[in-house]
């Protein structure tokens, strides 16, 4: 096969990448580094240090962090159970657990809103049982619930894959050499599943941190994440320079997360196929 001739086939894609991935990002940088008159300025690049924006960034990072931790705490025991219990149809159970990943995510937020809003289903059940009321809609708690619900499959999948792939021989060997349950967990299972947990964290943390839809629907517009501020700069305040500056900050945070926890395996959805 003539290699040079085959390489030519990728030219349409290279043009597409330059046109629709690289140039748009350059546009963001250019917008972020200029003011409305088109003159160079540091104002928007440093806008993140403004107290309002700093507070929003902090809240975004906090909520994303809490959501990621909760997702790990839910997923890891599930993975250990599926590994040790040796159910007959582990694959099918896994399929069922991951399936909601394919459901439209606005739809899933709508479902959560239905449950936890003030006159929602949960409060109705509680009042029938005379158990008091929950008042969490429009609070950060509601947003965390939404994030966990939306992104849990993205944690479950890599964690399950990783834990189930650990060979039983290694665990047996550890036990033979005198390791108790606790040491098997801390010295064998957890170290061997770190890569799965890492890619799970990236896949939950990045979308949670850059989120604005969940905060709009479950936060009632009262809670400002960095994503909300950026969205408003583009759709309401029309200060695109400021919006671009903040987007650039967001990108840097995404990059740091990816470098810290490993890249997300985008091919994850492939599991179902």
């Amino acid at each position: 096969m003539n290699k040079n001739r085959v390489q030519v086939l990728s030219i349409p894609y290279i043009l597409w990448v330059i046109g629709f991935t690289v140039i748009p990002l350059i546009f963001v940088v250019a917008k972020a580094a200029t003011n409305a008159e088109g003159d160079f300025t540091f104002e928007y690049l440093l806008a993140i240090f403004d107290p309002v924006h700093r507070k929003a960034l902090l809240l975004s990072v906090c909520l994303a962090f809490i959501s990621s931790v909760i997702c790990v705490l839910i997923s890891y025991p599930a993975a250990l159970i599926l590994k040790s219990a040796k159910f007959k149809d582990t694959k099918i159970i896994m399929f069922i657990m991951i399936l909601p990943m394919w459901m439209n995510f606005i739809l899933r937020i709508l479902a959560i809103q239905l449950l936890i809003s003030k006159n929602g289903v949960i409060n109705h059940l509680l009042s029938v049982l005379h158990l008091g009321q929950i008042d969490i809609i429009n609070t950060p708690i509601a947003i965390v619930i939404g994030m966990v619900y939306d992104y849990l499959p993205y944690m479950l999948l890599p964690v399950l894959n990783c834990v189930l792939a650990i060979p039983d021989d290694i665990i047996e060997a550890g036990k033979d050499l005198g390791a108790g349950k606790f040491h098997v967990l801390t010295k064998i299972l957890i170290p061997l599943s770190l890569s799965g947990i890492g890619s799970g964290i990236t896949m939950v943390f990045v979308p949670s941190m850059t989120e604005f839809v969940i905060a709009n629907i479950l936060g009632g517009g009262k809670i400002q994440l960095l994503g909300n501020i950026i969205e408003q700069e583009f759709s309401v305040s029309m200060n695109w320079n400021l919006g671009s500056g903040l987007s650039l900050t967001l990108m840097i945070f995404v990059l740091i997360t990816t470098l810290l926890f490993g890249r997300n395996s985008a091919n994850n959805r492939n599991f179902v196929l």
Binding site: M1, S10, L110, V254
Partner: protein, 263 residues
């Protein structure tokens, strides 16, 4: 065994957490009362209003057309790109993969904004801008489905066909395409569902008047309780479910066939 029973309960609880909200949503889509908590009897009227609303019908059409077109275009560009990348030297190969990863790693909101800034300069916001945006984030998924298949493929069959006198195009169609078909199919399916699922990028790149199901649902639920939206969501749920089951069954059939062929 006590431990196994507890384990089962835990798994059931996780599954319940994932499905209970969707089940409630589906149940309410058949509720005659507009209330979220009072059961007013079984009805299909929300489904009827769904199909009487021209806005919803046109959103369904836009969503499907967008998903089909963007997945098809992404498959063509992604397939040729994969072949080209596969033939590249290690350094170029790595550079290409780096650029392929950008839309996957980047936050949707940044991708959406970047494309919007580009579109407002060079083309009107509308169906075509959303289509370009969807193709942009779909191509990487296609490449990541096809490239691994190319790498595990036996290229000697292709070379043998060439040696026996097949033109490279004929050998490509007869040897490579059938081998790559599962990858192309997986890429198409993934691109199709990613496009159906997308909200953020569509939200920033669509012009006024263009609505996909995601943007329509988003706009409607902010206005208040709309049982039609529950009906629409339930429909979406079942469409995706049926698609997944079909894809899995056909994938299993293919696997069985190839297992048989191996004997």
């Amino acid at each position: 065994m006590m431990g196994k029973a507890l384990g089962k309960i835990y798994i059931v609880l996780v599954v319940l957490f994932m499905y209970a909200p969707i089940m409630v949503l589906i149940a309410l889509s058949f509720n005659a009362s507009k209330s979220r908590v009072i059961w007013g009897g079984f009805t299909l009227k929300w489904y009827r209003t769904l199909f009487e609303s021209s806005a919803i019908i046109s959103a369904i059409g836009t969503t499907l057309l967008l998903a089909l077109l963007s997945a098809a275009i992404a498959c063509i560009i992604g397939l040729t790109a994969s072949l080209g990348i596969y033939a590249m030297k290690k350094r170029d190969y790595k550079i290409m993969l780096f650029f392929t990863n950008i839309p996957l790693l980047n936050a949707d909101i940044v991708t959406g904004i970047a494309l919007m800034l580009w579109f407002v300069k060079f083309m009107p916001l509308g169906f075509s801008s959303v289509l370009v945006a969807h193709v942009t984030f779909n191509i990487p998924y296609v490449i990541l489905c096809i490239l691994p298949k190319l790498e595990t493929m036996d290229i000697r069959q292709f070379e043998a066909a060439r040696d026996l006198g097949a033109t490279s195009f004929y050998a490509f169609v007869k040897i490579l395409i059938p081998d790559l078909m599962p990858g192309i199919f997986a890429g198409f399916f993934m691109a199709f569902t990613m496009s159906m699922d997308d909200f953020v990028i569509t939200y920033f790149t669509k012009g006024p008047g263009v609505n996909t199901l995601s943007t329509l649902i988003y706009g409607e639920i902010r206005k208040g309780i709309k049982p039609e939206m529950y009906a629409l969501s339930s429909l979406l749920f079942f469409i995706v479910l049926i698609m997944l089951i079909i894809v899995n069954i056909s994938a299993r059939d293919n696997k069985d066939k190839s297992d048989l062929a191996a004997y």
